[in-house]
Symmetry: C2
């Protein structure tokens, strides 16, 4: 018996006509697949509209009430899709996060999944029904409604696929798959047939937006193959799966970029134990994600520390940093949001030395200055000037023959 | 300890500003009342918009999925109102039909309440919180979401008031209370200080739209005093309560009208047992509510049967009637939607004969022909030509000195 979970995002269910298209697509799948579970996001911009309503009422609404509000979006789209399926003669039933027992912790607006019951999903599938599940939402053991945060519907789909031992999980989106680089920057970029979970995680962390890291991690942990594909055409997309299942490992799979980070430098920090801990502890307490961190060699008992953060967080970072600068007796700080982070990702890198050297040489040949470097076993990231960003991506895509 | 349930309808929470107004009003009440529970409808026209979306997808969507869809409307408004209350410094929490244990039968789109748990409501009230409850929705013992049908939010409010042994239940609406006649027809109509449940039921059944019969019946069964009042001003409205609690019983409390009925006459029906049963059985099977029924005296073994139904049902009625006419061997049928039903309602009527005579005389003096008559111990209804409707209401309002 085959079982597949299909997830359709907000742009795939943006209006009634698109919902009907999705229904036709699901009916088509059901001819080939024994059991189909569909996870949907809210219609188009619904979530943003609801956030806008809340913002008119309160700057800081209670997170529990935000979840009550936002979870309605997916409930609307799942009911409409179930109606559209029934209209096509395909027996279908919609289910809330509560009804599929998507149990989470109590972390409202960013809840983590604890357990997926899915017993009722199985019962309904056995009746020959398509089960349409509200993405993004869960429930605590006390019956409180939660939401899973950004990219939550992908996580819902992967978690259900894991709980149901699905053959694979399809993520339908508005692009054709995962590309060797952003096609808007590199027109010659091509779709990857497959990438490993680890590569996909590095790509997501370095700027590829097609999948959220969290759902990929979940898929890796439960070994759920993902198929990222377009909801607007029927071509194959990109498979994301275990490295063990990928025979031919590319040395470099993709060049990614992130133009939305900012660099912070704290100058003249007294070079003594505990300084980094107090700085990054302070940032963590304010819920700020720090990406790259570099500490320069110390001279005369003082050192410089640089790090990058999301531009969205820059005001919060400025506040925390300035407090810490004065607490540490540092000389000052500066903020630079005119940067680009360019990364080269590939599982084969582990066993092929010289990739980093090739990257640095390519950037040098193109007169691009490197400001920060950070590496993992399968990724090298460089921070360059924002103006050099596109040029760097193109040159590297070309150099590595992608 | 005082406890009051307040219900705000869709027009009272039509937009963000109105929601903020309701929040201020609730905060004000909380200063005088120990425990306040608020029941809300969906924002303005939300329910109609959702029905419209479903209609674009299916002419006959599964009722279970309609309930999934429609129940989101109240979930949005309750979350926004809870946010607005918290913003004013009033601790508040919203709760779904499931969370307040509004247990219903499985009659999707028109479910009946079986039991109200409300334990968690009490817990939250004890913490000093205002509890905001989604009107119109319930849950079956299997965890399926249901809705209560037209006027469902009023019923939610009354059912909660009964379960919580509330002092009374306030129904906030866009009119000032219950009037002696529709002020749009009779400008001199005045607001009633109080009416009995029975009178209110007769008034609702004969065309007064301020309260749905179902919530009044529920209130009568559990003896919950209702206070119908305006959400836009602070004046007293109309109290609806037990007849025993009303000292001065008016002979005639109000003149009501219904311009939305149609009269059906089946001519030349064979006069034998079982004819009425088969006719009205057929209509009931098609879920058509019949209001007045009149059977004329039989002549030559044939009789005429007339009845009134809602104009909304006329197409269904036509279909059922024509089948039955041919099955019964009747001579034919005719349909007339150019009628008005005018009623006089008053609890004192029981002990004061002559009200019917006064009504008929008044209509005669105004040259208004009566086509059908129907009575109950506290009500007399006459069907007249639609063109005579307004004139009849004015004349009767004047005659009975209201």
């Amino acid at each position: 018996m085959s079982l597949v979970v299909q997830k359709f995002g907000g742009s795939s269910v943006a209006d009634v006509e698109k919902i009907k298209n999705v229904a036709r697509r699901v009916v088509d799948s059901k001819k080939r697949i024994d059991h189909v579970v569909v996870v949907v996001s809210a219609l188009g911009d619904t979530t943003d509209e609801l956030v806008g309503l809340a913002a008119q009422i309160s700057k800081l609404p209670p997170e529990r009430e935000m979840d009550m509000l936002l979870s309605t979006g997916e409930q609307v789209s799942m009911a409409l899709l179930a109606m559209a399926l029934n209209e096509l003669g395909q027996d279908a039933i919609s289910m809330t996060g509560q009804q599929v027992e998507m149990l989470t912790d109590t972390g409202h607006t960013k809840a983590k999944i604890r357990h997926v019951g899915a017993e009722r999903v199985i019962q309904e599938l056995r009746k020959g029904r398509v089960v349409v599940v509200a993405g993004f939402q869960g429930v605590t053991s006390e019956g409180e409604i939660t939401t899973l945060g950004r990219g939550g519907s992908d996580t819902t789909a992967v978690a259900l696929a894991a709980a149901l031992h699905a053959d694979y999980c399809e993520i339908y989106t508005d692009v054709d798959g995962v590309f060797t680089a952003d096609p808007r920057v590199v027109p010659e970029a091509h779709k990857l047939e497959q990438v490993s979970y680890t590569e996909m995680l590095e790509m997501a962390a370095t700027g590829a937006r097609v999948l959220q890291s969290r759902s990929v991690e979940y898929a890796r942990n439960y070994n759920v193959p993902l198929h990222v594909r377009s909801s607007f055409n029927v071509g194959e997309g990109t498979w994301v799966k275990s490295e063990d299942d990928i025979m031919e490992k590319a040395i470099v799979s993709a060049v990614t970029h992130d133009f939305d980070e900012a660099k912070v430098t704290i100058v003249g920090v007294p070079d003594k134990p505990g300084v980094a801990a107090s700085l990054f502890g302070g940032l963590a307490d304010s819920n700020i994600n720090v990406d790259m961190i570099i500490q320069n060699v110390s001279e005369q008992a003082r050192t410089d520390i640089s790090f990058t953060v999301s531009q969205d967080d820059i005001e919060k970072v400025r506040q925390v940093t300035e407090e810490i600068v004065s607490a540490l007796g540092a000389e000052g700080s500066n903020f630079d949001d005119n940067i680009a982070k360019i990364s080269v990702v590939g599982a084969g890198m582990r066993t092929h030395p010289g990739i980093a050297a090739g990257m640095f040489k390519t950037l040098a040949e193109n007169d691009i200055n490197i400001e920060m470097i950070s590496t993992s076993p399968i990724k090298i990231s460089c921070v360059v000037r924002r103006d050099d960003g596109e040029k760097a991506v193109k040159a590297l895509h070309d150099h590595f023959g992608l």
